[in-house]
């Protein structure tokens, strides 16, 4: 243990602890900006400088490990002056249109300015001296360099968490900027639109592209029938933007709020999550049969899940030779979209041209996915607008709803029923768990032998998880699987996906089925979720997802009554011709840079 004093208070901390962390233990707050709990130390904004007795310069507390006998002062005149200067300098290169900014009141620079740099501006504005670029090319987010304060959180996110580096630092000195390959627009580089950078940007330099106004317009248009679907992970995170603690489930209130906002029908993506399990589970079993029994050489294992549009774009860019390993299933959002303007329209006797389909997603990549040319199976754009969890919170505030005091209510019918299996899609390992619950039962006729159906080996925050399920007591149709060991793996965060994919490329992957989610923690840590994010926050959301599952009466996708009904009335059976038309898709090879 290392002993030191901070503001004359002694503390002992393990070697390697930073001064910042030690101060935190003493409840001494040191402001930070470039620092982020998910990322490596940068030590570049210098907002966190403190005074160390005897040192020639101030030290960056986020980057300085403690040493024996250190005497630190966090609030001296020298520190205050430097801190004020640093915040003023950042403000001088930041286009401060705060009152109009999407991040107004949620901006970390604004908060710092409020504390350390109020009053007269000290320095000259540099904003006009630079030719800033505002990149609106991505359907998912906007990159506004005039608001960038060069903290490089986005750069570190893209490199460390996602192993992509679609954005990186270019140029030096006054011309230094966060840029893409050859300065190309974000729509034309390897960006997966995952939005993890958006989640970590302290200012308005990276924000989702918002479609709030378009959705309001649709709601107020008497000609339109506006249906909304909500993704599993939204219900466990929306509360954070409305004054709740991380991990509080607000499902019922959210449904009521959506209805009060004026959506004509409030439906659940969980329904199509269950449907995905039927389609994808069947696809996996069929693939296994074709490969193992029929000796089909064209089909490949392992099979990958296809729910995460960030992951899809990643594999299209980085591992296009394995596109045939991807499940052909559309994501639940897009299955929903295709059905809303066909099945739902028919059942409700509404002209599909008049349906506006909105989805609330924890995700920015979903905005991109909805725009893909393949996603028009209904004859229309299957999903018209995708809003993030954050945007929904904005709409709720705009409408003046007293969210905390709303009554809970249930989803509308037809495509509103769901099971616990659909809910857990929101957490890493959830698709795998839901698939195993159903597939095992299809093959053996019995429930998967885990206590309370909780398949714990596939849960949790480990970057790569694996499990083996021994299949015993198969029904006659599936005898060829008797005694087989189904090997599965799960990765979340593209840096972990990359690890698994390298194994696959090297021909060393032992798995039959791999679930991959682009974002850390799965959708609960999605790029459209409330800001801030951290491991602790994601763990709380994850806990809430599994609590939601436990509280459901039905916990297996094949027991969802709406799912049973749709196969009976409309689709026939899983992987049927109609299913293939509406619920399955294909992929596109893309450049690797």
């Amino acid at each position: 243990m290392i002993k030191l004093t901070i503001n004359n208070q002694s503390i002992s901390v393990p070697a390697g602890t930073t001064v910042l962390a030690a101060a935190k233990k003493l409840n001494i707050n040191i402001p930070t900006l470039c620092n982020h709990p998910d990322l490596c130390v940068a030590g570049i904004c210098r907002v966190c400088v403190v005074e160390q007795t005897g040192a020639r310069t101030l030290i960056a507390s986020c980057a300085m490990p403690v040493s024996e006998g250190m005497d630190i002062h966090t609030n001296t005149l020298k520190v205050r002056n430097a801190r004020r200067h640093i915040v003023e300098l950042l403000l001088s290169e930041h286009r401060s249109d705060c009152t109009k900014c999407y991040k107004n009141q949620k901006c970390e620079l604004q908060a710092l300015a409020n504390e350390y740099a109020f009053g007269d501006t000290v320095f000259l504005s540099l904003v006009e001296d630079h030719k800033y670029n505002i990149d609106r090319s991505s359907p998912s987010f906007i990159k506004d360099d005039s608001k960038c304060i060069h903290c490089q959180r986005c750069v570190r996110t893209c490199a460390e968490l996602q192993s992509i580096s679609a954005i990186a630092v270019a140029n030096k000195g006054a011309h230094q900027k966060i840029s893409s390959f050859l300065d190309r627009p974000m729509s034309h580089v390897v960006c997966t639109n995952c939005g993890q950078c958006v989640n970590r940007c302290p200012t308005g330099a990276l924000v989702e592209k918002t479609y709030i106004d378009q959705v309001w317009d649709a709601i107020y248009d008497p000609e339109k029938h506006v249906v909304v679907q909500t993704a599993p992970a939204v219900r466990v995170a929306l509360g954070e933007d409305l004054g709740y603690d991380p991990g509080e489930r607000v499902t019922g209130k959210m449904v009521t709020a959506l209805r009060q906002l004026g959506f004509d029908s409030v439906l659940d993506t969980d329904f199509t999550a269950d449907l995905t399990i039927m389609e994808e589970g069947t696809e996996l079993l069929t693939r296994l049969k074709k490969i193992l029994v029929d000796g089909n050489k064209e089909l490949a294992l392992p099979m990958f899940t296809s729910c995460s549009p960030g992951w899809i774009k990643f594999i299209e860019h980085k591992y296009p030779e394995f596109l045939s390993n991807l499940s052909t299933c559309k994501s639940p959002q897009q299955m929903f979209g295709a059905l809303a303007k066909t099945y739902y329209a028919q059942k409700r006797k509404i002209d599909p041209a008049k349906i506006v389909s909105v989805s609330i997603m924890p995700c920015t990549a979903k905005k991109y996915e909805a725009d893909r040319p393949e996603m028009r199976a209904s004859g229309f754009k299957d999903i018209d607008y995708v809003l993030t969890t954050r945007e929904l919170a904005v709409m709720i505030k705009q409408a003046g709803l007293d969210f905390r005091n709303l009554e809970s209510s249930n989803y509308d019918s037809i495509m509103g029923d769901s099971t616990g299996a659909g809910v857990i899609f929101g957490a890493t390992g959830g698709v795998m768990e839901a698939a195993l619950r159903t597939a095992y039962e299809i093959v053996t006729g019995r429930e998967i032998p885990f206590k309370n159906l909780n398949i714990t080996p596939v849960r949790g925050m480990d970057g790569v998880k694996e499990a083996t399920v021994k299949i015993e007591g198969c029904t006659d149709d599936w005898k060829f699987l008797e005694g087989a060991e189904l090997k599965v793996a799960i990765a979340h965060g593209l840096v972990n996906a990359n690890k698994l994919m390298k194994e696959v490329r090297a021909g060393k992957s032992p798995y039959h089925f791999i679930e991959i989610m682009a974002c850390p923690g799965g959708c609960i840590g999605g790029g459209g979720q409330p800001i801030p994010t951290s491991m602790e926050i994601r763990k709380n959301r994850m806990k809430a997802i599994y609590a939601e599952d436990e509280h459901m009466v039905l916990r297996k996708s094949h027991e969802n009554p709406d799912v049973i009904a749709i196969y009976k009335e409309f689709l026939g059976k899983p992987n049927s011709h109609v299913s293939h038309e509406l619920l399955h898709t294909h992929y596109t090879e893309r450049d690797s840079y």
Binding site: G43, I44, H85, I86, L124, H150, H175
Partner: protein
Amino acid sequence: MRKKGLSKVDLIFEKVDPKEVLTKAFKMTSDGIIKEMLDSGLKGRGGAGFPTGLKWKYTAAEKEPVKYIVCNADEGEPGTFKDREILDKVSYKVYGGMAIAGKAIGARNGIVYLRGEYSFLLPQLMEELESFHKMISEIGYDFKINYCLGSGAYICGEESALFESVEGFRGEPRNKPPYPTTSGVFGKPTSINNVETLVTTMMIIKHGAAKFTELGTKDSRGSKVFSVSGDTPTPGIFELELGMTVQEFVNEFGDGDTKAVQVGGASGFCVPRKKFQNTIIGFEGVPTGGSMKLFNSSRSMYNVLHNYLDFFVEESCGQCTPCRVGCQQLLKGVEKVKKGEVKSIYLNELVKLADTMKIASKCGLGQSVGNAFRTIVENFREEIIY
């Protein structure tokens, strides 16, 4: 005691038999070599002036099996060109110094990081390196040197940015600690020394520390190569004993009308005429990596300052706030003061900013921008304003 006045020395460019010196060095123990360096009082010749013996001692103390000795030949400070001359004339002594350092710290590998603009020297340097490798193996010693070429960024002369560049990354300074002696290039313990420092170590082995300490002062032992430029009838490279005053220097090199000397380049200090007499060139006064620029009364110190600030605005790596934005503010600030668009009192605000940059920047670049700024603004305020 140092002799009064200015005396020229011939140590760095003195012709020696490298085989003889190295044979002597390789017979010494690591501790022996380090003790000799500590006794000599040699401080780094790149500008920062860290005691060379201490640097080697710390690196030697690391337990890692792989260590590196890096020669910093990214000579980028405006107004210095002495390393180019040294490499051109006596590269074998640079290699020799690296081998001695290698012996001291336990490194079998050396890297010379050569300024990109000096690539024209490379064919000759490689040839000389080949003979050096041959000679070393004749002595029966295992030591290998490789070259790495810079790409023109000033910041890559900063040691940790240099490591990043060698490793193939953007040349950006790292957080310290860990210091290079613990974790340098490729994460291994590294001693990084300036070209001239390495040559000096070889000469200390040849002549002995005692002989070396006869030159210079208590805080600035030995002699040093100066790059003299500006308003002087005799520009060029001169090796001088340390400890002279600026006045003595100006008497030798000035044109009779010298109003200021910029000691240590853009990141150094401006000494005005009224302070020539009382300012010693060395670690007790104004330290320098060798750059000495003389300005006579025909020069506008505003233009001098503007030129330096322009340089830093370009050459800051851009990662830390005080340096990236601070440099731009200083430049824009003096421009606006000059044009009368802001009040001259704004200069006081800018001096405060320069002070913040000195204590809050991440690396030596940002920390030293304020040196020239403060000394020029304080001594030539009227030239900045009017």
